[in-house]
Structure formats: structure tokens, C-alpha cells
């Protein structure tokens, strides 16, 4: 079978989705005060920034933004062969007692979020940690559940969800690629 490619979110749809995610975050946290958004490198960081921009527009609150690179906390480093590139971790303030929302582009096995929780714990003890993801593609291997989901996507075997965002990729788009069928 030839590979197929279908658009999950167009640029416009992505904007609307991010907007709604921001609303849900505000709603679930009863406002934006004391909130910290922590994006996971890469793309999670940019999505977190966009959510923060929406929150600023809605609530006139500047939410502190952090970036988390979970590479050094991965549980598969002994087997991945070439070392993954390490990105920058940068947390804006003390997390002690704060409400943290982890933001990522695609939620799949849950292993990235497990690593992110471990890493956050090394920075302090937030009062609450939430999770907001642009795409939930199912397939969890760990008991991890997002509080905010942009879109649920059913992904067949051999399929992959690619998120493109302007800051890194020159365009906004979410695409489902299926390279093989079993």
C-alpha cells in the first residue's frame, strides 16, 4: 500500500484548538493566578507559549513559562543507539507550592510525561501538576491521563502523527502519516 497522509488539524483549526485548551486550563484551575506552564522540548515549548498568549488575552495574567528537556530522564537511553540531542531545560521560578501544567504536542506511550514528572520533582514540589496535550493518539504504556486534550486521534498501526508549528517548521499543521498497513 502506498503511504497515505491526511491533515488532522489545519493552521486555522490548530489555532482554535490551542485557544480552547487555554480556556480549559483556566477553567480547571479557576483562573490563571499561580499557574506555571512548562513545555516539553521541542514543540511543547512553543505550544505552551501560544497557550500563555491566549491566557494573557483572556485574563490579563502573564503566566510564567518554562521549558523542560527530558532527554536525560529517558528510560531507554541504554538502547537507543545514537544519543538524542539534549535540549535546554529552563524553569522560570521556584515550583514549590505552584500549580504546574505540563504542555506537550503529542501524547502516546506516556513515557515522556513520566520522565517529565521525574525531572520536575528535582526542581521542587508543586502543589499540583496537570497535563495538557495538543494531540492524544492513545497507545499508553503507563497510567498517565491528560487533563486537557486538543484533539483525540485514532492512529492505525504503522501510523505517525507529525505536528508542525511555524516557529520551528515554517507552518502550522498536524498530519497523520500512515506508511504501512498490517
Amino acid at each position: 500500500m502506498p503511504p497515505t497522509s491526511s491533515i488532522v488539524l489545519s493552521a486555522k483549526a490548530l489555532e482554535r484548538t490551542v485557544s480552547r485548551m487555554a480556556d480549559e486550563i483556566i477553567e480547571q484551575n479557576d483562573g490563571a493566578e499561580g499557574l506555571i506552564l512548562v513545555g516539553i522540548q521541542r514543540r511543547g515549548v512553543q505550544i505552551a507559549a501560544r497557550i500563555a498568549a491566549v491566557i494573557k488575552a483572556r485574563e490579563d495574567v502573564t503566566v510564567p513559562l518554562g521549558a523542560l528537556d527530558i532527554t536525560l530522564y529517558r528510560d531507554d537511553l541504554q538502547t537507543v543507539g545514537p544519543r538524542p540531542v539534549v535540549g535546554q531545560t529552563n524553569l522560570p521560578c521556584d515550583l514549590e507550592g505552584q500549580r504546574v501544567v505540563i504542555v506537550d504536542d503529542v501524547l502516546f506511550t506516556g513515557r515522556t510525561i513520566r520522565a517529565a514528572l521525574d525531572e520536575l520533582a528535582d526542581f521542587g514540589r508543586p502543589s499540583r501538576v496537570g497535563l495538557a496535550v495538543l494531540i492524544d493518539r492513545g497507545g499508553r504504556e503507563l497510567p498517565i491521563q491528560p487533563g486537557v486534550v486538543g484533539k483525540h486521534v485514532e492512529v492505525p498501526a504503522g501510523g505517525r502523527v507529525d505536528v508542525f508549528i511555524t516557529e520551528l517548521d515554517g507552518r502550522d499543521e498536524v498530519v497523520l502519516n500512515v506508511t504501512e498497513r498490517t
Binding site: Y73, T79, V86
Partner: protein, 322 residues
Amino acid sequence: MTPTASSVLGKDLLGLEHLSAEQINVVLDTAGPLKEISERAIKKVPTLRGATVVNLFFEASTRTRISFEFAEKRMSADTVNVASSGSSISKGETLVDTARNLEAMRIDMVVIRHPASGAAKFLADRIESNVINAGDGTHEHPTQGLLDLLTLRDKLGDLRGKRICICGDVLHSRVARSNIWGLTKLGAEVAVCGPRSLLPNAIGEMGVQVFNRIEQAIEWADALNVLRLQLERMQAGYIPSLREYNRVFGVTRERLERAPRDILILHPGPMNRGVEIDSDVADGPHSVILDQVTNGVAVRMAVLYLLAGNKPTLATAARGDA
């Protein structure tokens, strides 16, 4: 979609001479983000949990050994220090026997400092563990070279076309060799300056300029990497006296004040204040000597991270064809 450091270092880090610019940049790019770990309250990531590292020091070293040990501990590796005194090494055990014993203990990595040039390669050829050269004789000291590169890159940006002069006892300096290879590969212009009796006779074939006088080097350079002058060199007759060395080749404030631009001052330590470098230069505004020390830990963490698990067996397993 995780990008990977595509050209990793291979099994060992023995020197910079045989690394590509791309490989050097991978280490520096990895070291950059790792600096943040040392700023945390909990200065530790779990990356090398369960890995065992032996720091095998056949030569006295405080700075390098501590730097490696911090790097290893911050990556959660289990470390053992073996120094030449008080070990079987001082009882006449040969390096090849030491290597076989380490292998038998199933250690993952060895950091070796040894007075003989080529000792790190000797060990690496004989054991499957990753080997990191922490200085072999007068050959190379690659992690020092890398931390110097990182410090220069942080301060000067892209090193292409930047002018770096290595000053002092180049002949006996492993730091000088690693710097010459690393800087040249990253496109910097490299010069050396010192008494000819302390420069390799074949220095002209190493792709560097030679300045006979420190004043010329200061006139030319964006940065000076000032090497330690060992007291033994005077006893061995390479120079007449430390006093004269300071007067002719010493990096002093008076000399730096005549520089046409701000010059960064690096020194691999430990310093002989008042010999190759004056205190007011070492502690002055142009000195990045303490940045070097900070960067040393990050660079060594990067090297540990990039090498760990890079063994033939594991690489095969990772490809799924084991």
C-alpha cells in the same frame, strides 16, 4: 521525531586530532544545556544510573579528577577512584594487567590519566569499556581542549576566523595539542608563542603561526590560552630561569593594556602566578579561567552522556539485529 546526535563519538574519546568538526560541535552543543544541571538545587539527573565509572589516575591530579567525579555523580553514575599510589599500580602491575582486571569487573567506563603518551589508546584497544582520556603524557587532554573550546565559543561566538594564541610550554603540553586540533577544526586561526626550546621542532608543520615574542601574540590575538610552566623545565635546562621567563614571556597587565582589543585570558590550571601569568591578569576582567572550570564539568557530562553505552554489543542490540 527526536533528533539524534548523528555522528557520536564512537567507543572512546582519546583525542581531538581525529575528531571531525561535527563531532566536536556535538559535544559542545550537548554541554551547553547540561550547564543548567549544576545550577539546580538537586544537581543530579538519572541518565547514567547503574553505570560504573572508574577514574584511573596514574598521575597526580586534583582539578581534572574532581571535575570528572562531579560530572559522573551529576549523571548518577557509580564511581570508583583509583590513584597510582596505594594501589596495585604502585606494586608494579602493568597497564595491560590493570586493563584486564577492570574488564573482569564489568565496568562501563574508564577515565584514565597517565604519564605515558598513548596510554589511553593502549587501554582502549584492550578493553570493551568506554575509555576517556583525561590526559596521556604529552599527547592529548581532549576534555580540557573541549572545555576551552566551549568557553571560547560562549564568549566569542562562532570561532571561524577568531585568533587564538597558545602561550608557553607547547612542547610538553597535552592541552596545547588538543587545543591546536580542536581550534583548527572549528576554523579558528591558531598561533603559539613561547621560547623555541619549549616548542616542538616541527611546529611549523602543525598548521599554526609562531610568535617569538608575547607582545606580538597580544597584538594579534582575540584570546590567549596561557599554559602552565612546570618548574621541572627549568631544572631540565629548557629555560634559564622562571624569573626571566616571566620577564620575557609572562602575561602581565602592562602588556595586556597595550592590546588593540579586549583579549580573553584562559589558563588550564593550576596557575603559577607570577611566572606565566600575573595575578592581576588571572583575576582581572579578561580572565575566563573560572568559566573554564565550570564548563569543564558540563563538557565532561556531555562526553559521558555521548559515550555511554556506545559499545559494539549494545549498538548491535540497538539496531535490533542482535
